[in-house]
Symmetry: C3
Subunit: 343 residues, 3 copies
């Protein structure tokens, strides 16, 4: 009997089935420094204990994307080892800051199943929730993936497609307890624009570009516990090209977006997202954002901004889809998210 993990196949999943992706994994200062080395992020709250204290937190929290990557990575062995594609995200909300030394775990429930008409694959919808060692939820999201069947002859389940929100309503955003941006400027932070400076429909070209390198995307991908061979093994892909993990592109685009969105310190929700095209080493990633919505929050001085964040390997800011409704071939990522920023 083989001892290696073959993963689950479409017919293994049942509605209501839950997976506990243990054990809790501890994150800390090492991940923080590596994140700054791997991505050109300059958002300040995540790397400044003094600024964090000025805005009402005990110390600098871990970057929200580190929390996402760690929780997501924990689910891969149970959920997406046999995934053909990661099709979408919905209703992703960060619920509570994570600090160095915290340990993160995750639980996933199967909430939707629908076999594809080809009989070889099916779509699995899951709700994953990440929590800390105290059992407090820190992140929750729905994603859906296309998963292979082990046996094409296995009977199709009754289709269940969950009803998902098109986006998280502003009122549903979880602002970190105690967050107060009233004194944000005292820190000397370099964030010239406030929520009121951003207009719905505005396009922000983040200007800077990063040419992807093999070593960097592999280090990032391992750090998030994703060890899928397509990211590491040149013999596993056509033309000896490693495929770059979609999560790496999300972090790269978010980091690039600092230039123009300096005050968007916290990611607080992801409404949806698509990995529009694959990326490879040698591609130069740029990013642009479109302001979709702005909103107040109950926290002092804290506003919310809903943004479309697009990563591209060549197309201009503002270019997204062609007349056929398909993504421009240079578009890598189309992400709809909420951030918190000073009003």
């Amino acid at each position: 009997m083989t001892k290696t993990n073959a993963g689950h196949f479409f017919e293994d999943y049942r509605i209501g089935q839950t997976f506990r992706h243990g054990p809790l994994r501890t994150v800390g200062e090492g991940e923080r420094a590596l994140y700054q080395a791997l991505y050109p992020t300059r958002f300040a709250v995540n790397v400044s204990d003094p600024l964090a204290q000025i805005v009402g937190l005990p110390r600098a929290p871990m970057d929200d994307m580190i929390v996402f990557h760690k929780v997501f990575g924990a689910t891969v062995p149970d959920i997406s080892l046999n995934a053909v594609a990661n099709l979408g995200y919905a209703d992703l909300r960060w619920l509570r800051p994570v600090y160095p030394g915290d340990s993160l775990g995750a639980v996933t429930e199967i909430i939707g199943l629908k076999e594809n008409s080809n009989g070889k694959t099916g779509i699995v919808w899951v709700r994953t929730t990440g929590m800390n060692a105290a059992g407090e939820d820190v992140l929750t999201f729905v994603r859906w993936v296309m998963v292979r069947k082990r046996d094409a002859a296995a009977p199709a389940p009754d289709p269940v497609v969950p009803d998902l929100p098109s986006h998280v309503a502003a009122a549903g955003l979880a602002v970190p307890a105690g967050l107060d941006f009233s004194g944000y400027d005292q820190s000397g932070v370099r964030a010239p624009h406030r929520l009121g400076d951003y207009k719905v429909g505005e396009i922000i070209d983040h200007v800077d570009g990063v040419t992807l390198s093999e070593a960097e995307h592999m280090m990032a991908t391992r750090l998030w516990q994703n060890t899928a061979k397509v990211h590491f093994d040149i013999t596993a892909r056509p033309q000896a090209q490693r495929l770059i993990y979609g999560g790496h592109i999300i972090s790269m685009a978010r980091a690039l977006s600092f230039n123009g969105l300096e005050g968007a310190e916290f990611m607080v929700a992801i409404n949806g997202g698509a990995h529009a095209n694959p990326a490879f080493a040698g591609d130069t990633v740029r990013a642009w954002s479109e302001v979709l919505e702005t909103a107040d929050t109950p926290a002092p001085g804290v506003g919310a901004i809903r943004l479309r964040l697009v990563a591209t390997k060549g197309s201009a800011a503002g270019v997204l889809k062609g007349e056929d409704g398909k993504y421009h071939p240079d578009v890598l990522l189309d992400l709809d998210y909420w951030a918190l920023m000073p009003v």
Copy 2:
């Protein structure tokens, strides 16, 4: 007079001579995160404070290979700067867990000397012991290296060849104090196989592959304080190829072996090992294991498994040597070690 370290030559060593490789060097969370970024390791105890506490330790210990690399690296300037080859290891035992914040030092004693018949080189056997700041031993091992003579005319020493065990007996393994795997499953850890599931002679193909990159092996090698020019300087080698540090291959193979040996949480001894062929950037490393022996330990729920771990850049699982007794040219590493896993 030159100020640079020319290292010691064969004729400089005497039986009983000792080297103290100071000062103690502090390891911490940074090394832990880098280890996860550089290797696809997913063994859980090393990255989970909660799991470590479930199994009786105060918090997550440093990966055993980090301890090995740090102690080994400390010995290079005194022992192997003029080494032509690292010939073998014997009787390597981890004696005590190392935690973030601990400082590691090492002492080496010369225990064997034998000049080669060519009169230009000789073999030096050493016993190295690593210790923490409290003076407690954390690791001990014998290795032997072929070292150049400074002066071929220097007289040969009386040959002394130490009597070395073929392997560490199960009874000689140092199980970490307090280790108790009885509650291991409570952590939700994803380790489907227990000691009893492994049969002597069984071959486990670990399936996954990693194509080596220059930046990653250099970062790893520096982290272990090995600054030998063959690993960093393309002008120091034929065909502008940096040689990849053998220690990097050990860590890569051990990390890959997670897939099939998820429960083998602790390395506790290395019985012997050979770097069978050199590795270079662009090689794709795979690994397979053969179960050599299993044993009980006195600790609750803790068993020991002796494994042959083989890293290869192309040959199939189970292929080791040809009819001529020589390693297959694709075999990079042949390591005989003991791990601890839940029974």
Copy 3:
């Protein structure tokens, strides 16, 4: 209105103008480990709590170059985003050790302005001071940069050229409080030479070489918060060559200089420096030092050594400039600095 930071231009600066580069950014064990992975540094005090305590410090301080890089990086958005060249450094002094967990900020004052005769650029002299969260200064330096004018027609300011010392006098060096090298040897540290072993005029060839890789210089450069596109984006430069950040070369050369200057544990001042030629991935960096001066300090057992540190991609040790007074085309860096070492 564009939201991205266009930086300041020559005509935006006024004598006496100050910039507070907030917020304070926290450094820690992650940066420490990454520094050891990115550079072949083996200076011991920065990585050994026990040695640090032997020499009178509470624990291992952060590498002085980490402090320099972090403070320098903080100034880039306000000072050198539109710089054509970083022309020089003067009177750089480290004033106090920085420890893991400290947070670093910086303030810069404009101290000199002189428009160039072409009317398109000008030289800006600045004094930057880095401080910790307690408001204590940790580093101060003058640098001058050539900055573009936004509008060539803008009137030239009255030229002000600050009077700068040719070098920091030995008496002006800030020895860390409590530093005492009397017991240095107790640590077992491998530093065979003491201050008295170095003679003025002596040239030390540090022998080892490192071939630069894209991934490593990008990771280092991001870690220092320098996100200038010439370092990351191959489309921003001729021949698709990323330019390597000058600060990366300083750290590489300083790390290589360990071999021959093992005891030069602390950098305490930089008297001047020039980035003589650009460096690119694939270049093999070597280093040599010339002893310029030695001096006593008031601290027990602590001497000061003034060194010229030269990084080269090919020229021999001792080769610096041609008969025309221009740097040899292989010379990358010419740095004049003071270090502290045991007498």
